[in-house]
Amino acid sequence: MPILDIKKDKLSELLGKKLNDKQLWELLFQFGMELDSVSDDEYKIEITPDRPDLLSSYGLARAIRYYLDIENPKQYKVDEKSDWVIKVDQSLRGIRPYIGGFLVKGLKITEEQLKEMIYVQEKLHDTLCRGREAAAIGIYPSNKIKPPIIFTAYIPKMIKFIPLGALKEMTGDDILTKHPTGREYAHLLKNKERYPVLVDSKNDVLSMPPIINSETSGRITVDTKEFFVEVTGTRKITVMNVINILACMFKDMGGKIMSVKIEYEKETTTTPDFNYESIDVKPEYVSEILGIDKMDKKTMNNFLVKMGYIIKQNKILIPPYRVDIIHPIDVVDDIGRAYTYDRLEPRMSPVFTIGNIFNQEIMIDRMREIMIGFEFLETFTLGLTSKIYQFDMTNYMPDSKVYVRISKAKATEVNMVRYWLLPELLRSLSINRERSYPIKLFEISDVVRRGSTDRNENIFVNHKMFSFIMSGESITFTDTKRILTKTMKLLGYHIEIKRMNHPTFIPGRCANVVVDDKEIGFIGEVHPNVLEKFGIQMPVSACEIDLSVLII
């Protein structure tokens, strides 16, 4: 979940009210967020991921002001139309075809606000903008730019400008291979013949989205008075959403918003649109979902206002920064948060149904009871494991296509899903080798193997395996065979034990387990060279059979 860092003073200043830590915790809980941590002067707040508009001090404070009735929601409007135009070139098709922008005037920013602008940019890039892929933000001092602006795509070596943080001109290719930011985001332009650029009428390159701004015209400072903000992207809806979130924030900072005209090949739009879309939500629907018996329109509207909606001429208007509202159910959700979940008294409407669990599971329960009767301890080993334990250490190596291989696991050693249980039982024994003997362990659980046909949607299917090991000074093959034979007999199966060799077991002391002419597993004394690899110094006799053949 995204985290917002916010200074305590800043929050009080923006709320016009001081909340203590406890009050803030409670408020955030009811709103659906979490106070992650508190330091002397700062909060870290977990922001709900559907609300990127809350990823700035201004956005969060705005929502809290409405929620606590400190202020009624105001309708955001464009202050003035500018004569700025961005012309979008066709060459961007298939690369990064969408753009939006606006100008901010009348803003005297502090060092702290400058930091916040950059912070918000990063936070939005990481979340709503999907790592700058769907959309990317650029902020410029507008006095360095001479409109109209062309948004186009150049062949990389034709792009020449000084990127932020560099001392001399670099080409598009240079930036992606040598500049630290370029390298970080190079994957976004991989295999593109042309890279997007913003160029003004002086032919100066303003930036190369979504990578980096120009040092000459794209660096903002505390002395910047007027800002040009643009958002480019591969997804129109995201570009428009980010524009609206940013425009509302700049407005809250005290700036005046001037719109910019975007000329596509076939259509012309103006951004930001500050579009207050209306949505139809009936009080009955709210009652139906939340289970609040009496919900009239007036009460409902009160809750909506707390959540920032504008009620105008009996219509519910969605604020332009609320990019998460796509269905009336989302509005109902907001009403729930305003009403607070604590007030939704739990109830259980009677729903008559008959409970049922799988017969196979009952059968497996019975098997577990039998094994416990034989004084076995049940283990609960992990499904994720390593080829080292499953195959190398057991001397057993099936075809590489029959098991599930895992790459890029963050957990060290994990590189496959278990193919059989026995190696995991041996690992358990190995860890517990200093405990008192005899040690008798069993497990009835799943392993994953390629299905016998590839007709399954998911190719790899679960098998229910039954495995047990016995370890102690005087344990032999006979002990294991007695347990297996009796257990299967109690379950109504007649098994045959047929001599065979298996690399995990001692030759001549190992056999196939056969039921109705089907080989379902094996049984034997584990070979000392296997025990040695597991660091086990006591004899081990073991068995593993596939129950799927029998009961599933």
Partner: protein, 519 residues
Amino acid sequence: MEDKDIINMLSRNEIELLKRLFLYQADSKVVTNEQLIRKENEKDNVKMNEVGVKRALMYLENKGLVELSKQNQVVYVITERGRKIVKQGLPEERLFSWLRSVGKGVRVSEISKASLDKSETNIALGELKKLGLITVDKGFLTIKKSYDYSHALPIKKVLQKIMMSSTGQVNDIKDDKVKKELIKRGLIEKKEKEILTIKLTPLSKKMKNAIKTISTNFIDRVTRDVIINKEWKGKSFRAYDVESPVPDIDGGRKHPLRLVSENVRDVFREMGFQEMKGDWVDLVFWNMDAMFIPQDHPARDVQDTFYLGIKGKIYNKELVRKVKEVHETGGTTGSKGWRFLWDENVTKELILRSHTTCLSFRVLAAGISPPVKYFSIGRVFRNEAIDKFHLPEFHQIEGFIAADGLTMRDLFGYIREFYDKMGINKLRFKPTYNPYTEPSAEIFAYHNTLNKWIEVGNSGMFRPESLAPYNINVPVIAWGLALERLAMLMYNLNDIRKLIGHTCDVNWLRNYKIPEFKL
């Protein structure tokens, strides 16, 4: 315990020992366990060998009748060879008398006819030569003078004395020369021995008269013979010290997590839920797209989900069409949808399921006739590093109810009922966001020892968009709860690796306490 109870608990051995201790005046003199051991030839129907005496003394100590103190003592124990000598004489004696019996001049090769083993023969020849009693010339043995038995007397005397002692050992041998000779010949062994010094306690002194007059005509072990032969008739039974501690015992047991899992299953079955299950490997389609998780959702990232790098198949083309429509435009649900192109190709990728909600959606897709309730307890996989609180796999308790008239309050009601049955009764719901449920609620339980609210699960009502492809026209409330989290609370564990995996301690499996199913 009363004096009478103690007396009733005394075995024949214990009674016999006490009587001897009184006899030996153990209240004023030092008595050791050695003195109490019965000599072999002593007639008694009670077993009073070394082990028997020691055991009986321990029991007496437990009953508070004697006080024992342990010391280590050096002792000289007669060996098998030593015993033989006492019975048959020294090898040189035996060889000499044989030589005398066959007359003069015996071939060396004929010595084997004397009943001595090889090492005895060697010792005997050496000794006889050293004493100058025989000569060996050209393969013939000749007796030179008659045997003087006195030289072996000290050795034989000492050996005899040791053998005749009740324990076959002595604390010291005064004659150093003899001691060395005996050890050299392997006739005695020097050993360290634990000696118990016994003192009568005030309690046994007080009970002296009672003990002296105890009848030993009681039944000790109830054996088969005692029952068949009706030996018990008219007799009393020795009482046992039923209050004394006994050794620990281990048996087979279910795994602690199984116990919790079974409990969860029972609770859901009791509440009318049917079980669901499915394979660990599933398609991205069923794990994500089927329930309206947008295709750019961060959880789809390889960073968080295990991809197999292999594609599966989707046979239901009609369902694919419906899912695509609802993602892109919202279809007929009144939703705007996610408003970007939905790619069928990426949905065919196989992954290890990251939640068991895919099971619910497979059930919905197979067709249900509400009202229905379903649950599952299944393993799910997330690409996480291993630490105290995280494993890349864990169990999710999934459940849903599809029925007319269900609301968020019912969701809370069913969840509260479930946790109540698990012994957790302080719950709070927090609004949250899930792509496929709206409204949604995280479930927090109050941890009484940690004194704070901890998250135990997530829940909500399936969105109209997520239900749209399956023609479900009733509300569906659903949840996903954490099984391991629940188990860790119940067993008071602070490291998940102690609960599950090969790292689990067998001693814990043998000894874990059955949880009260209460937080």
